[in-house]
Structures are given as structure tokens and as C-alpha cells.
Subunit: 213 residues, 2 copies
């Protein structure tokens, strides 16, 4: 059987194959009908955590999107949806999906007040549309996806997640796909008792949905 | 294998089993891992197309939600999400999903300008949050789900769908689940060339996603 093929763009440069392929593997594990081909942008080891790095990344993301051959969907695996419009302008024949839109879209289905875990103080672009429904949580000493990969960063994220619950969040959205990379979802559900929306898995779910049409 | 069980609420009274079960069957066809048990509200043959019928339906929907035994999720199969908050207040241990939120959430993943096909002139509640991104299309002579079931109503919907495309819609959302019942999705895709988001299938997709957790 021919699988539904997805081109997935990581917006973080890495030579670590485990790290590079983690999002794609997660999707393929849950949705075996989907095949994910992963590529990352060059020369951006800190990923995207500020306007400058965002602007730097967009043309690279467009180039990578154009480089995929024979895929049925493109996923930009970042909660800020960098380059989403720009890629849609050049790739017009298949769905182009961003992990900001996916996380937002499904979070909205689960609650009115969304607790958003983030590594920056500004809301991801998709979430700015419904800013009044967002409670943002950012640990003081976590400022990049690298900070998430050490125990202290992870522990601080869990602490902030608990605070989001106390502040009235009805569902938790991951405002950085680096949180997917470190597999913190279940731990957050344990400490908060809330449903955590994994934007990468939602993107995979969409690919699975498309594959059945 | 134990299937993931969904209680689905139709907000239209009918003794026609084909009509009653159409949404549930559609979900089970695409997602065989999901089992749908369907119930409809009593004494409301015109469904919901105005404030009075909405208010009349809410307590009935809550009662039906409470009557489901041993289900893993509840779906309110109406684009206006009637009773969504009220049901969530009494059913707190499983996800309660509304087909307004599902349609909106996935439409947002596919485009910035959403063409919304409707049987009323007011936006469904979920869509009111992003009113500036919505282009509403309602045929003059279609005012209830019954009107959709005759050829003229269907044809007028297709005409309005084409107009939405001309007005700049990038994706089409079904603003009434009666449009799902009449299976108009593929025809709209043919005449517009746009992706049509079926809110009932999206709800099914969520059930499938939950079943894999």
C-alpha cells in the first residue's frame, strides 16, 4: 500500500539524528499510514526564539519546502508557524500545515481558557488571534529549546504548567514544539490533570485524515 | 479489541433511522476503531435555526448527554455548539466536543480566509471569535436543514459556495451539520476547487486520535 507522504520541516539545525527525526517518528508511530520525510533548516542551532531568528529562518524554510519531492503534505514543525504564508505562496497544490495552527485549532475544541507553555514571552502568531483566551506560562530561565533539554528547564516547565491550571486553564497547549521533542506531555497531564495538546501529533492526525479522503 | 465509544447527539428530531444515524455511520466508516452511539433530541423536527430553538434545545442536549452510559467522548453534532458549556459542566470526566469548534479549528489550519456555508445569517458561536476572517454564505431560500434536503436548496448551496471562492475564501467550512447529512462535501470541492472541512469527520478524527493515546 502506498503511504501518505509528509515533508516535515524542523526549524532547528541539528546533526543529531535522534533529535532530528523525533517529530516524524512520533507521527509514524501513532499513524502508521503516514510516512514522514524530515529536513531541518541549516545554520540555526538555537532554532527560533526571537524576531531576528524568525526572519532569518523564513527564506530557509521556503527553500526546504520547495526541495521536497513527491509529498502529499508539508508540515512546518514550529508553534510560531514561521514561513507558513510564504510556503503556501509557492507550494499551492498540497496542504501546508503549521504546528501553531494545529495546536490552537485542537486546543479550542477542548476548552475556552487555554494554558500555553512557551519559551518566549510573546504569543505564537496563531494564538494572537484569541489572546483573551490564553494564559501564557514561561519559566524565567528557559529561553530556547536547548534550555528544555536539561533537567532544570523541564522541571520549571512542569511547575509553570501547574500554575496555569491554578490560573484557570482548561486545556494545555504546547507553545513550542521543543516540548514535544522532550516528551513532556504525559508528565504535564500527570501534574495538572488537564489534557495536553501536542501540535505535532495533531499535524500527524491531519495527515492521517487526509490519507483517508 | 475494545472500541473507543462516542455518544453523538443529533440536535434534530427524526424517526428516520437513515437520517438519524448518518453522522455516526460516516465517522465509523472512516474510523473503524471508533464506535458511535447516536441519540437525537425530542420534539424538535426543525432542528436549531434561531435563538428560540437554540434555547429550547440546550436542556434537552444536557439530558441526553447525561443519559449516555460508558462512553469515552461526547460529540454535539451541530455547528452552533448548543449546550457545549452546559454539558461540560455536568460531564467532566471525558472530552465533550462540539462540531462548531471542530470545523473552526481545522479550517484555521488550512487558510486565513474561511468561507462559511450556513443556513442562518448569524455566525455560529465558535466562528464569532474570528469574525474578520469569515466570509459568510447563506442562500436566500434555505433557512432550515429541511430546505437542504430538496434539490433546489442543494443547488443554491453550491452556487453560494462558488461565490465564496470568488470573494476570496481559501477553505470552505460547513456552518451547518445538515450539509454533512446531505453529503454535499465532494460536490462543493468540485465546483470550488477548495478544501471543504467536514466538522463531523473532524470530530471523528479527534475520537480516533483519543483512541490512540
Amino acid at each position: 500500500m502506498c503511504k501518505y507522504k509528509v515533508g516535515l520541516i524542523r526549524v532547528l539545525t541539528t546533526e543529531d539524528e535522534e533529535l532530528l527525526l523525533s517529530h516524524g517518528r512520533l507521527i509514524m508511530l501513532k499513524f502508521p499510514e503516514v510516512e514522514v520525510i524530515t529536513k531541518c533548516i541549516p545554520n540555526q542551532y538555537d532554532g527560533i526564539n526571537c524576531k531576528e531568528l524568525y526572519d532569518l529562518a523564513v527564506p530557509k524554510i521556503v527553500e526546504i519546502a520547495k526541495s521536497f519531492e513527491d509529498v502529499d503534505m508539508i508540515i512546518i514543525s514550529c508553534a510560531d508557524d514561521p514561513g507558513l504564508e510564504e510556503v503556501r505562496e509557492v507550494v499551492t497544490d498540497i496542504p501546508v500545515i503549521g504546528c501553531g495552527e494545529t495546536g490552537l485549532g485542537v486546543s479550542l475544541m477542548y476548552g475556552r481558557k487555554i494554558g500555553l507553555l512557551s519559551i518566549t514571552k510573546s504569543l505564537p502568531r496563531a494564538y494572537q488571534k484569541i489572546a483573551d483566551q490564553i494564559i501564557l506560562g514561561k519559566p524565567d530561565n528557559v529561553n530556547s529549546t536547548r534550555d528544555l533539554m536539561i533537567k532544570e528547564g523541564r522541571d520549571n516547565m512542569l511547575k509553570v504548567a501547574k500554575e496555569l491550571k491554578e490560573k484557570g486553564a482548561e486545556v494545555i497547549a504546547l507553545g513550542c514544539t521543543g516540548l514535544v521533542t522532550i516528551g513532556i506531555e504525559e508528565d504535564i497531564e500527570k501534574v495538572t490533570g488537564l489534557r495536553v495538546i501536542n501540535p505535532v501529533l495533531v499535524a500527524g492526525m491531519l495527515a492521517s485524515y487526509e490519507s483517508k479522503r
